[in-house]
C-alpha cells in the first residue's frame, strides 16, 4: 500500500508516485492529441462562415417552414421503394448470413482452421463498410436504381446478422444437441432438431432488429442514387427547395419512429 510520510505522519495514498506520474503523462498525452486534432480542424475551417452560421441557420429555417404539405402526394412511391429496399435487403441478407454464421460458429464449423477465418473475414469486411459506400460501389457496377439499394443493404447486413447469429449458435445448450445425437441422428437432423429450435428466437429477433436499422439506412441511400426517398431529398436539396426538404425530413423521422416501434413490439412478443 503506497504511504507517504508527511511531517512525521503517515498518509495513505491510492497510487504510488510512479503510478500517478504515468497516469498524469497519459492524460497530458491525451490532451495534447486532442488539441492537435482541434488545430487541424480549425485550420481547414472558414471561420467567417462559422460566425455567420446563426444568420444562415435562421435563414434556412424561415425558408423551410412551413413544410410543403401537398408535396406528400409525390412521396408515396419513394416510400414504398424505401420499404422494399429495407425489407428485401434484409431477407437476402438473412439467407446469406445463415450459412456464414454456421461456418463461423466454433461448435458447427466444418474446419476451424481454414473455413472459420474466411467466414470471419466476410463478417468483418461487410460490417465495417457503410451501406452508402456499398451503394456507391454497386451504382458504379450495376447502375443506379432500387436494385442497387437492395443489394447494398443486403451486403451490409450480412456481417451484422451473421455475427449476432454465430454468437447465438455458440451459446446454445449443448445437452440438447447431445440428446439428438444419441438417437442416431444424421448431421442435418442434428442441425434441424438440436440447433435450429434453440436459435430460432434469436434469429427472429435479429431479423426484426436489422430490418429496423435498414429502414433507417435505406432512407438516405438515395443521396448517392440508389433509390428510395433519399432521391427526392437530394433532388430537393439540389434545387434548394427547402419546404420540400423539411417535409421529407418529417416523413423520414416518422418512418424511423414507426419502424422502431414495430421492431420493439415484435421483439417484445418474441422474447
Amino acid at each position: 500500500m503506497p504511504v507517504v510520510e508527511h511531517e512525521g505522519a503517515q498518509i495513505w495514498r491510492r497510487r504510488t508516485t510512479g503510478q500517478s506520474l504515468v497516469r498524469w503523462f497519459g492524460w497530458l498525452l491525451g490532451v495534447a492529441v486532442f488539441v492537435y486534432c482541434w488545430q487541424i480542424i480549425s485550420e481547414s475551417t472558414t471561420w467567417f462562415f462559422v460566425w455567420d452560421a446563426p444568420r444562415i441557420a435562421n435563414d434556412i429555417w424561415t425558408r423551410a417552414t412551413p413544410p410543403k404539405w401537398d408535396y406528400i402526394t409525390q412521396l408515396g412511391r419513394p416510400i414504398w421503394d424505401t420499404l422494399n429496399i429495407a425489407t428485401l435487403g434484409t431477407i437476402i441478407a438473412l439467407f446469406l448470413a445463415v450459412p456464414v454464421a454456421f461456418l463461423a460458429a466454433r461448435n458447427t464449423t466444418p474446419s476451424a482452421l481454414f473455413i472459420r477465418p474466411i467466414a470471419l473475414l466476410i463478417i468483418v469486411s461487410t460490417r465495417s463498410i457503410n451501406s452508402l459506400i456499398w451503394a456507391l460501389l454497386l451504382i458504379a457496377i450495376i447502375g443506379p436504381g432500387v436494385f442497387a439499394g437492395v443489394i447494398a443493404i443486403a451486403i451490409r447486413s450480412i456481417g451484422f446478422c451473421a455475427k449476432l447469429l454465430y454468437e447465438a449458435i455458440e451459446e446454445i445448450d449443448h445437452t440438447q444437441v447431445e440428446a439428438i445425437t444419441a438417437t442416431g441422428a444424421s448431421r442435418w437432423q442434428i442441425m434441424a432438431y438440436g440447433i435450429v429450435p434453440q436459435i430460432l428466437p434469436a434469429f427472429a429477433g435479429i431479423a426484426v432488429f436489422r430490418w429496423d436499422i435498414n429502414i433507417r439506412e435505406s432512407t438516405v441511400l438515395g443521396l448517392v442514387g440508389a433509390g428510395g426517398i433519399g432521391l427526392q431529398l437530394s433532388a430537393s436539396l439540389n434545387v434548394l427547395a427547402w419546404p420540400q426538404v423539411s417535409l421529407i425530413l418529417i416523413v423520414i423521422l416518422a418512418a424511423v419512429m414507426i419502424s422502431e416501434w414495430v421492431s420493439a413490439k415484435v421483439r417484445g412478443a418474441i422474447i
Binding site: 475551417t45 465495417s128 457503410n130 458504379a140 447502375g143 432500387v146
Partner: protein
C-alpha cells in the same frame, strides 16, 4: 415400415411444434408475407441488361482487391484518412465529455423530472436523425470541411452514449449509493463515490465502441462534403479507379479491425 395398430395406439405422430403457436396468426403472417413479396417484386424495376453489362466491372473490382493501388493517389488517401482520424478523435472526446452530464440528467433515479425530460428530449432528437442528414444540414450552415463532420459525429455520440449511460445508471445497485449518502455526502460526492464507480467499466467499454462507430461513420461524411476519406473514395469510384478504391476500402477495414481488437483488450481489462 408402417405399423397401423401401433399408430392407432399412440395417436398422431410427433411433429415439430410451430414457432408461432396461434395457427390463424401464423397463416396470416405467411400469406401476408408472400403477398408483400409478390407486390414488391412486381414494382421493382431491374434493368437486367444493365446488370449483366455491369458484371464485368464488378469482376474488375473484385480483381482490384488483389492488386490495390496505394501509390498513385497516396497523398489524397493520406490527407483524407488523416482528416477522418482527426474528426473521429476530436468528436469522440467532445461527444463523450458532453454525454456524461446528459446521461446523468437522463437517468430517472438521480435527476429531477424537468431535467430528465429535457435530457431525454436531446437524446431522442439525436438518435432519430441519422448522421448523414445532420451532416447535410450542418454543411449547409457551417460550410464545407471537417468542422461540419466533427459537429455531426459529436452530436451522434451524445445520443448514443447518453442513452446507454442513463440506462446503466438506472440499473445500478442502490445500496452502494445509499451508503455514500448515509455518510453525509453532498450531491457531487454522492455521484463521484456512489454512482461513478458502478458505471465506469461500462462507460469505458461503450466509449471504445463509439470511437469505432465514429471512425466508420467518418468514412461516409465526405460524400456530402463534411470532410474525411469519403470524398476521396467517391472520386475514385466516379473515375472508375477501382484499384485506388480497393486500397481505401482495405485501409478502412484494417483500421476498423485494429480498433475493434484494441477495444476488446481495453474492455476485457476494465471489466
Amino acid at each position: 415400415m408402417s405399423h397401423p395398430e401401433l399408430d392407432d395406439l399412440l395417436g398422431k405422430g410427433w411433429r415439430k411444434p410451430a414457432f408461432v403457436k396461434n395457427a390463424l396468426l401464423r397463416w396470416t403472417l405467411i400469406v401476408g408475407f408472400i403477398a408483400y413479396l409478390i407486390a414488391a417484386y412486381m414494382t421493382i424495376e431491374v434493368d437486367w441488361g444493365r446488370v449483366y453489362e455491369g458484371l464485368d466491372r464488378g469482376w474488375a473490382f473484385v480483381l482490384a482487391f488483389t492488386s490495390p493501388d496505394f501509390i498513385s493517389r497516396w497523398s489524397d488517401i493520406w490527407s483524407g484518412l488523416m482528416e477522418s482520424i482527426v474528426m473521429t478523435v476530436a468528436a469522440s472526446v467532445v461527444g463523450i465529455l458532453i454525454s456524461i452530464p446528459i446521461g446523468l440528467g437522463a437517468a430517472r433515479n438521480i435527476a429531477p423530472l424537468p431535467v430528465y425530460v429535457i435530457c431525454r428530449g436531446i437524446v431522442a432528437i439525436s438518435r432519430a436523425l441519422q448522421e448523414i442528414i445532420v451532416a447535410i444540414l450542418l454543411v449547409a450552415i457551417f460550410g464545407f470541411g471537417p468542422l461540419a463532420g466533427f459537429l455531426t459525429l459529436s452530436f451522434a455520440t451524445i445520443g448514443f452514449l447518453s442513452k446507454l449511460l442513463a440506462e446503466d445508471i438506472e440499473a445500478m445497485d442502490k445500496v452502494q449509493a445509499e451508503a455514500i449518502r448515509a455518510s453525509g455526502a453532498r450531491w457531487t460526492q454522492w455521484v463521484n463515490y456512489g454512482v461513478q464507480p458502478q458505471v465506469m467499466p461500462r462507460l469505458v467499454g461503450l466509449s471504445m465502441y463509439r470511437i469505432d462507430i465514429n471512425f466508420r461513420e467518418s468514412a461516409i461524411l465526405g460524400l456530402v462534403g463534411a470532410g474525411g476519406i469519403g470524398a476521396t473514395l467517391n472520386t475514385a469510384f466516379d473515375r472508375y479507379e477501382y484499384d485506388t478504391a480497393a486500397a481505401i476500402l482495405i485501409l478502412i477495414i484494417g483500421i476498423v479491425m485494429a480498433l475493434e481488437y484494441l477495444s476488446g483488450i481495453i474492455r476485457a481489462r476494465v471489466q
